[in-house]
């Protein structure tokens, strides 16, 4: 902030163009036809003061930087013309550039109090009609004592008068290029001094503070450029004191504070000349005066939230981002350079370059930053870059993933995102050497240098991919199905217990066998019938007889070996009809005979049918008896 002081220019009184020189030029070039079509026509009306008292006189000048014709001055109905029209003409040549200045002036005096407007003057310049702007003159009452009656030596009112006179004739303006910028958008604040008095010396009294801004001073040329500007019809000389580029850092209302300048002015002394020499050279005095610019209020807009990129880091302006990898195929231990560069106009110093995820397994050195930023009238311009030096230590394929740089362009009011990458680096194991990648066969059996696993970052763990949803508040434990499943083993056990203790013993006992004797026997007969069909007569007869003996063994609950014809006879006595018993024995004998002797006439089909019916009959009679 202090450097503003050293930058403060010394304003030298502009040299008045001497009338003599101008007249000489008129004589030399006056008759020449000079084309002035190359420049803009400026036709304006200028007064030397716009606040006058009744009786005071002032000058109005209509000037143009070209030849004119058909000049019509406005009516001066509220004023009295003391002198005029006075015409003057001048030619200027600067660096081969010729300028004609022509002017018509009047000296007027107001006749009454009030506000009066001097209307437009018109003229035809290069075939076109031009008009000047009207000028408002305010006339205050009564002739002023001190100025109109210089004979009365009174210093008191004079200094008071000179104070207001000074403030009208010298002031500082703070011009802000944009009073409603976005946060981070550059604006320029220009401090200009307007003066009509001679400045002997100046000194910076107060350098402005820019709270809420990031500032960058613009270097101004060493020698001050003094130009002319007309304000309310009065021509001022103007010089730029200070120019600052401001980057708002907060949203809301921000204040650009005033700049204060201490000037020493050389004023004409109106006192009566004391000596002959005084009146000859003119007398003057030096007055110290404090000038202060007004403060400007700036309303800073926030950046729009809509479409704001996720990685936006506050870059505002117009940029281009580039990323470059100097080679993408290297050998192990060869250096690789990765350069990231952002170029353009905007708040270059106020944001960081995007973060790049470089391969974690590389040896990476701190980046070399290279900023080439210059301040122009409109903001910062240039480039900033970061250069990373990486050395791959293990072979393989590595990638620098895609990353992006986003900025906000205040002109288009849009965000722009540039995607960079991805970059792939192929790292080859050096020829003739064995890769030092773990697992590679190492001829000299040197142990692989082990290292701890680098923890790169900490983050929360990934989400679960299985839903396992249940209705809210329901829980397997305590639900009806839980209790049902809890009781199930006990129930199954008791079912099994019942089956094992009650059903199984019955099924295996002799009594149970006896009950199912007929069923079992019929099964054996069915087998016999099958053998018969297959013409397997021997097996048929065996099954036939076995069926009968098995039936009685089960019925009598004895061993099969104990079943004889006598025991059967005894068992069946008084239980079964005599005829059935006889038929049974007849059937048995018939088959036995056939088995040992071979009777061809025996009808086997009829026999098996009969024995089945017979056993069924016997069984039902035994059951009835029981």
């Amino acid at each position: 902030m202090e450097q503003g002081f050293s930058n403060m220019r010394k304003i030298r009184p502009a040299m008045q163009k001497q009338l003599f020189g101008q007249l000489l030029l008129v004589f030399l070039f006056g008759l020449l036809h000079l084309s002035s079509s190359a420049q803009n026509v400026e036709f304006e009306a200028v007064v030397n003061k716009n606040q006058v008292r009744v009786g005071e006189h002032f000058e109005i000048t209509f000037q143009v930087n070209a030849n004119f014709s058909n000049f019509k001055h406005p009516s001066f109905k509220d004023f009295r013309v003391l002198s005029g029209p006075n015409q003057s003409q001048g030619i200027q040549m600067i660096n081969g550039h010729t300028t004609i200045n022509k002017s018509v002036s009047f000296i007027l005096t107001p006749t009454k109090e009030g506000k009066f407007t001097i209307g437009e003057a018109s003229a035809t310049i290069e075939g076109k009609n031009y008009t000047t702007k009207p000028i408002v003159i305010s006339v205050s009452g009564g002739p002023q004592n001190s100025s109109s009656t210089p004979n009365q030596p009174s210093s008191q009112p004079q200094t008071a008068n000179s104070g207001s006179e000074i403030s009208d004739n010298i002031f500082i303006k703070c011009l802000v290029s944009n009073k409603n910028p976005f946060i981070g958008e550059s604006i320029t604040a220009t401090y200009k001094i307007y003066f009509r008095l001679d400045i002997v010396n100046n000194e910076l009294a107060k350098s402005p503070n820019y709270n809420g801004f990031w500032t960058q001073e613009v270097d101004l040329p060493d020698n001050v450029n003094v130009s002319t500007e007309t304000i309310n019809g009065i021509a001022f000389r103007v010089a730029t004191l200070k120019k600052v580029i401001l980057y708002p850092q907060r949203t809301g209302k921000l204040v650009v504070e005033p700049l204060a300048l201490n000037v020493i002015l050389r004023l004409r002394d109106n006192r009566r000349p004391r000596s002959v020499f005084d009146s000859f050279f003119g007398s003057y005095k030096d007055v110290s005066y404090l000038l202060e610019s007004d403060s400007s209020l700036i309303q800073v807009k926030p950046l729009p939230e809509a479409n704001k990129p996720k990685n936006f880091s506050g870059a505002v302006g117009d940029f281009t981002a580039t990323a470059q990898l100097d080679k993408n195929q290297v050998n192990v231990n060869d250096a690789v350079n990765f350069t990231l560069k952002i170029k353009g106009e905007g708040n270059l110093k106020l944001f960081d370059l995007p973060k790049v995820e470089l391969p974690a397994d590389f040896e990476i050195y701190d980046p070399k930053t290279n900023d080439k930023i210059s301040s122009t009238d409109y903001g910062l311009k240039g480039s900033k870059s970061e250069e990373y030096l990486m050395i791959p230590r293990y072979s393989g394929s590595y990638t620098i993933p895609e990353f992006s740089f986003s900025y906000f362009n205040p002109k288009t009011e849009k965000y722009t995102t540039t995607n960079l990458g991805p970059f792939t680096i192929e790292v080859a194991a050096p020829n003739g050497e064995v890769s030092n990648r773990p697992g590679a066969i190492n001829n000299n059996y040197a142990p692989v240098q082990q290292q701890n696993i680098k923890q790169l970052n900490t983050d929360i763990r990934f989400i679960k991919t299985k839903a396992n949803l249940v209705s809210e508040g329901t829980r397997f434990f305590g639900s009806l199905s839980y209790y049902a499943l809890l009781l199930l083993p006990a129930l199954l056990y008791f079912v099994f217990y019942f089956y094992y203790k009650r059903v199984m013993p019955q099924a295996s006992s002799a009594e149970a066998l006896a009950k199912r004797a007929k069923k079992n026997t019929l099964k054996v007969f069915a087998q016999a019938e099958k053998e018969l069909k297959n013409n397997n007569i021997k097996a048929f007869r065996k099954a036939y007889l076995d069926g009968i003996s098995a039936y009685f063994a089960q019925k009598m609950q004895t061993d099969l070996a104990l079943v004889t014809k006598d025991s059967i006879k005894e068992f069946l006595a008084n239980k079964v009809h005599e005829s059935d018993v006889q038929e049974l024995f007849q059937r048995i004998e018939e088959q036995e005979m056939a088995q040992y002797v071979g009777v061809a006439s025996l009808n086997n089909e009829e026999s098996i049918k009969a024995i089945k019916e017979l056993i069924t009959r016997i069984d039902s009679q035994i059951s009835q008896q029981a």
């Binding site: 900490t458 983050d459 929360i460 763990r461 990934f462 989400i463 679960k464 991919t465 299985k466 839903a467 396992n468 949803l469 249940v470 209705s471 809210e472 829980r475 397997f476 434990f477 305590g478 639900s479 009806l480 199905s481 839980y482 049902a484 499943l485 809890l486 199930l488 083993p489 006990a490 129930l491 199954l492 056990y493 079912v495 099994f496 217990y497 089956y499 094992y500 203790k501 059903v503």
Partner: protein, 260 residues
């Protein structure tokens, strides 16, 4: 033989009839589809839309430890640490045995303002808690059923086996299984009690002052901040008495907390 099959069939039908019906199964499938959509969104870093889908599933009346955990992750990624902690705590309540939930909760809690040292508990209590938390309520329940099956299976085998030494060892084993099964039921009950009798809450206001009585005229005791998990020890109208992890107690307004 026929009787046994009949009995079993009747029993199974009875058990299945109390299990969730087909209709609700279809709804769960629909919500699971939504869940998978949210997983995709999360993978594409669209955390806000993933969060919206998870919330929609919650609104349909479904929940699971995984659902709460994923919601917590979404909030964490969106920078809302307080909500992340709330949902991690909800997930942890349902499934205290999950390692991921505990880990993420710890990470989220490292980002809150208040750092309170927990009162060191007697190591046996810590062990007991850790043992209880090694399974969630449903796992303890399932465990009890499996053990009961084993118990009765061994008893049934004992009816068939004649060898007396094997019989004795089977009896002993079934007895042990029965006892552990009863213990598991007890553990499941204690876990269920923890879930249903919600006594914990997360502070949601940036700064909360605790008073000695349930009114603002009471003595100001301490100030706690967003994201802190506290225990609710009693309630009085709009006020709750909270107990900090370090054992300090004070009254705060109910509106400042979200109950887990």
């Amino acid at each position: 033989m026929k009787n046994l099959i009949q009995y079993t069939v009747v029993l199974l039908v009875a058990v299945l009839s109390v299990l969730p019906s087909k209709n609700t199964v279809a709804q769960v499938d629909h919500s699971t589809d939504l869940f998978n959509q949210a997983t995709l969104a999360y993978q594409n870093s669209a955390f806000d839309s993933a969060r919206a889908i998870y919330s929609a599933i919650l609104e349909q009346g479904y929940e699971s430890a995984n659902l709460y955990y994923n919601l917590g992750n979404c909030y964490y990624k969106m920078g809302n640490i307080t909500s992340a902690i709330l949902y991690y705590e909800k997930a942890k309540k349902i499934d205290p045995s999950d390692d991921d939930i505990t880990y993420n909760l710890k990470i989220a809690q490292s980002a809150i303002v208040d750092k309170i040292e927990e009162v060191p508990t007697f190591f046996l209590v810590t062990w007991w808690q850790a043992f209880l938390n090694s399974f969630n309520v449903n796992e303890w329940g399932a465990f009890s059923i499996i053990l009961l099956f084993i118990c009765f299976l061994l008893l049934a085998l004992n009816l068939i086996i004649q060898n007396s030494s094997i019989k004795a060892s089977f009896y002993l084993t079934s007895l042990v299984a029965f006892c552990i099964s009863l213990l598991s039921i007890f553990f499941a009950f204690s876990q269920k009690h923890k879930i249903t009798q919600s006594t914990k809450a997360v502070i949601f206001s940036p700064s909360v002052t605790a008073y000695s009585t349930p009114e603002t005229s009471g003595t100001k005791l301490f100030v706690i901040h967003e994201g802190l998990t506290i225990e609710i020890t009693s309630t009085n109208n709009q006020w709750i008495e909270v107990k900090l992890p370090n054992g300090t107690k004070g009254w705060i307004e109910k509106a400042h907390v979200a109950i887990i």
